[in-house]
Symmetry: none
Subunit: 204 residues, 4 copies
């Protein structure tokens, strides 16, 4: 006769955390792809493999869930950008690597897409707006500034206002990631080489 024993507390906590991760991952994806209003709690639940009601044992509301994700996205996007300094090669090569990496990894794109939705959606929780004001692109630009200054001095990058250059690059990257067009044979995303032309400056 098999005796069924309750899980130990440790097991419970582990399970709970893994559940929570499931939800966060699912929500990350669904919110990134569909935005605040387009994402339905039922979609997130399905993506996470549970019922909608369960979400509320982990997050008080759709708003709180979204806010949590934005916090995480802000963090991850910053870390993703900081990563650029670990990449090998000259500034040009670093940036090139970075762009390639971001464009090829869905997971790397979600944070940027999420932040974009947070900027453009209609009824964003006010905590999110505060977050966005504090950790805006400005921060990302600041992070990249030394690298671009170095690149510019080395003659690898276009001359002109550096901050503007970085901002334009980031905007284009975000725009492309957000664009989210189902790629077919016709629609072709610009590749990293093309984007690097913006960074490097034109022949003309």
């Amino acid at each position: 006769m098999k005796r069924v024993t309750p899980l130990t507390e440790e097991q419970l906590i582990k399970r709970r955390e893994s559940r929570r991760k499931q939800i966060v991952d699912a929500a990350f994806k669904v919110f990134a792809l569909r935005g605040l209003n387009g994402a339905k709690m039922s979609m997130i639940a399905e993506e996470a493999g549970l019922s909608a009601g369960q979400l509320y044992r982990f997050f008080e509301s759709k708003e709180e869930l979204f806010t949590t994700l934005i916090q995480q996205a802000v963090l991850e996007s910053t870390q993703g950008i900081e990563m650029i300094y670990q990449l090998p090669g000259s500034p040009f090569e670093k940036v090139h690597h970075f762009i390639s990496y971001v464009m090829e990894n869905k997971d790397a794109q979600y944070p940027f897409m999420l932040i974009h939705h947070a900027h453009t959606a209609d009824d964003v929780p006010k905590e999110v707006n505060q977050l966005l004001q504090q950790f805006s692109v400005k921060r990302h630009i600041d992070l990249l500034l030394p690298l671009f200054e170095e690149g510019q001095q080395a003659g690898e990058f276009a001359q002109g206002d550096i901050r503007q250059l970085i901002s334009a690059l980031l905007t284009m990257l975000s725009a492309i990631m957000t664009f989210n067009m189902p790629i077919d044979n016709d629609h072709q995303m610009p590749d990293a080489d093309m984007l690097m032309r913006i960074v490097a400056g034109s022949r003309k």
Copy 2:
């Protein structure tokens, strides 16, 4: 008691058509800015200066309205692109003008934004999907092909696969127009000059 002379049939038809145009214009704008789900019928009615009920005298449903607009957007985007041949100057200058024009004119952007929404929304009417498959970017690329071949031969444009180059440019343009981020001092949209670097090719 005021006696109103009845309108002739022709006048009636005219009035009806002008009414319909009001609706289409309003819907164009609202759908372009807010997407299929974000746009509420009541918003469109208000933008058009009509009651919500009126919309249904011209379109059977929100879906039909959206479908109609997509048809028109496909048409207008094509016409917008054809316009490029009327612009003065070399191929490079033509493309530069075109990009500048599109980026500075809200109205010119609506068709592209609308098509983007049609591509990314989830519950798009199937007629719309058919339309998008038939009149895809492929068509736009075909239209621009001669111009870009000329530019390439003149050495103004980057070497390499032309179709890919055009596709990338169009995608970027759409992406930027769709990006729709509230511009602040931090977020800076790339300008036409920067985009032209993609077309012109890099120094490297």
Copy 3:
């Protein structure tokens, strides 16, 4: 052939106001009898003779509806108490009349019941709490103070702390109204005479 003409604007406004009154009256009753949580929007809608969705054309949310009613109840309860000075007779007779009137008129009781629910319910909107703090019983006591002083000096009322006496009377009145027990042959509400014994003081 009968020509159906739209209502004039004036008619529309009238209809809208009458609708609103219907809702307010229904909500007043349902909230008074069942409290904030016990009252379902569908019950209010049914009592008002319309569908639940309609309520939202007049009030943004259940909370706003409740808050509006509390404002009105605070007003009405105060006016109801001020009314006591219009009643004929000595202070004792005035108070007696007042108690009788309140206990016999359902409508006169709703404001007090509503305020009671506002005090005791769980998730009261914060505007309501503010209101209750500003226009609390203190105000009612202040209003009745002159009358009770007069009655006490005339020897009609019990000696002792007047404010306490008034407060106790009001509390008992509220408690009785709120008690809301279905009256049967067994349960007998105390009548005005009995309550007046509290006011008048005991023989002992």
Copy 4:
């Protein structure tokens, strides 16, 4: 590995009964304070120091639990009233003591509060309604009748219909206990002396 000696059957039954009592006590309090709908099973479980699931090993449903409590409350309220004959002094003093005791002891109030909720809630199980009809206030009045007759004959109590007098007193008591208003400096509960004026009759 720790070996636990199995409990004897008697011990098991004892444990089970103590468990059940925990639940009943917790539920008594929570239902008394919050009513049928305001009380959540999870609150009762927490108050009892158990998991929500456990409740269902003792009671089939919230309704059954509530019904059980009402049965007990009816019993306890009757016993509480019978207690009055054990109190010292004249009828007046007995009643005064009783009122003081009830007003000062939360635990003594729960049965009355519970019965009140049973009377006023909307979706009360029908068994409860039957119970309330069978063991209504009538019973309480019958119990107190001899005492009040004695008091009346002794001239301590007001003249008039005794049953009505008792009923009014009980109703007032219940109402006050149920009133449950957060006491502040403004709201002042009537005290036992004031209530005794109802019993004793007025000077007038």
